[in-house]
């Protein structure tokens, strides 16, 4: 039968596809663990920062820091969007972008300008098609993002915020819950939401070198950097998890496809043999 050769070719091609997807699946599975380790390693820093800032906030500063002061009027909001560099990770990025677009529309209805800072190549590709202002971008962070690579982008938004060009700043990324589930997280970064810590029992204060104001600024900047860095790591872990799941289902689909094709092939082959036999038998009958 003429179709059988085509089917064999098809089976081969799907088998190759399955090889690729299952390899990607295994690569992602091992990278998740690494990403989680990175997440774990960066936690103590953020925790310590939070402690110190909590204390600084209690230290009765004469002028509240611009980062902690709520602004009455919101004219422009910023979004830090953390997406992946590579695709093939299911609906991870698209889910986030869809939610973001909803947010953007809400702001636009209130005549509030929206500006973004993007991390990751997929975000750049997405925002290229949109008429949304992009003030800074970082790409190609790789499997081991470094805080260094993010400093530039973060400085752009923080400077904008200090200069009142931005009145609010949000952070948007995929939170890693476990391997099977990730959730889009859009949270307010600035002004810092007031923390609900219990009052310190006995009052004591640090010695400051130099002034508390200057130190608070340093602490807050680094704190925000660490929050964004942490978000980048969570997003990375989410990316690998989502890719692993997507590639697993792609491999399963490929296996089903191969089974179906093989069935078709066998039937076609059997039909050809049957036909041949009946032709031979028919021929023999005609001769005798």
């Amino acid at each position: 039968m003429s179709g059988s050769k085509e089917i064999v070719g098809k089976i081969k091609s799907v088998q190759n596809t399955r090889k690729v997807t299952s390899a990607l699946e295994m690569v992602s599975a091992s990278k998740i663990r690494k990403a989680q380790e990175l997440m774990q390693a960066s936690r103590p820093y953020a925790r310590m920062m939070r402690q110190v800032i909590g204390h600084l906030a209690h230290a009765n500063l004469e002028n509240p820091h611009p980062f902690t002061e709520a602004r009455d009027e919101v004219k422009r909001v910023g979004y830090i969007v953390i997406a992946t560099d590579r695709g093939l990770c299911g609906g991870l990025n698209n889910n986030m972008f869809r939610q973001l677009l909803g947010e953007f529309r809400r702001w636009q209805e209130q005549d509030v300008e929206v500006t973004t800072v993007i991390v990751g190549r997929k975000a750049a590709q997405f925002f290229r098609r949109l008429k949304v202002d992009v003030s800074a971008s970082t790409q190609d962070l790789g499997d081991q993002p470094r805080l260094e690579d993010l400093i530039g982008s973060i400085k752009v938004v923080l400077d904008d915020f200090r200069a009142h060009r931005l009145d609010r700043l949000h952070l948007c990324y995929n939170r890693f819950i476990n391997t099977m589930s990730q959730s889009v997280s859009i949270e307010q970064l600035l002004p810092l939401p007031p923390s609900e810590e219990e009052e310190l029992k006995q009052y004591w204060d640090y010695l400051y070198e130099p002034s508390p104001e200057a130190l608070l600024d340093d602490f807050l900047t680094r704190y925000i950097e660490s929050v964004i860095y942490q978000a980048t790591l969570e997003n990375l872990a989410s990316e690998h998890a989502a890719r692993m799941v997507a590639m697993k289902s792609a491999s399963d689909n490929a296996s089903n496809l191969i089974d179906d094709l093989r069935l078709v092939y066998n039937k076609a082959r059997q039909a050809a043999i049957t036909q041949e036999i009946s032709e031979i038998v028919g021929g023999a009958a005609a001769v005798s």
Binding site: I7, P44, S135, G152, K155, L215, R222
Partner: protein
């Protein structure tokens, strides 16, 4: 345990040291600091330099930090180390780079390479699906 002080050295990317120490010597912005147990609470910035941790059982460990922040409480000293050299000019340059990258990322339509690749992959997948449909129909007949 009055003769030791707990010392944590952390950076945004990793935990570098955690344990007790007899004394910690750090490069403070306004001069080096030797921190013994029951030091007064203090916050300060750190210069790039060496952190020396004197272990209670003798011996010492050195860590290089590229600046950072320091918090001291009577029994805990925390070094929040920066991961990179930080200076006004360097940060400025990084910010500028991020801005440029944004312009490039948005303007650069020639980066259609990847789109073309993705489209090719999609076409292939579609073709496979279509082929399967055809075979299924043939099967039923």
């Amino acid at each position: 345990m009055a003769s030791t002080i707990h010392c944590d050295i952390v950076s945004a990317e990793a935990e570098i040291f955690s344990g007790s120490a007899a004394m910690v010597v750090v490069p403070g912005e306004e001069g080096d600091l030797g921190i013994a147990p029951r030091h007064a609470p203090l916050l300060t910035r750190l210069r790039p330099g060496q952190v020396r941790v004197l272990l209670p059982e003798g011996g010492e460990e050195f860590y290089f930090i590229s600046g950072g922040l320091l918090e001291i409480q009577p029994h805990v000293v925390t070094v929040l180390s920066d991961t990179a050299q930080r200076a006004g000019d360097l940060d400025e340059a990084a910010a500028l780079k991020a801005k440029e990258e944004a312009e490039r990322a948005i303007a650069d339509r020639s980066a259609g390479m990847e789109v073309a690749q993705a489209q090719a992959q999609l076409a292939q997948a579609m073709a496979q699906l279509a082929a399967l449909e055809r075979f299924r129909k043939q099967l039923k007949r």
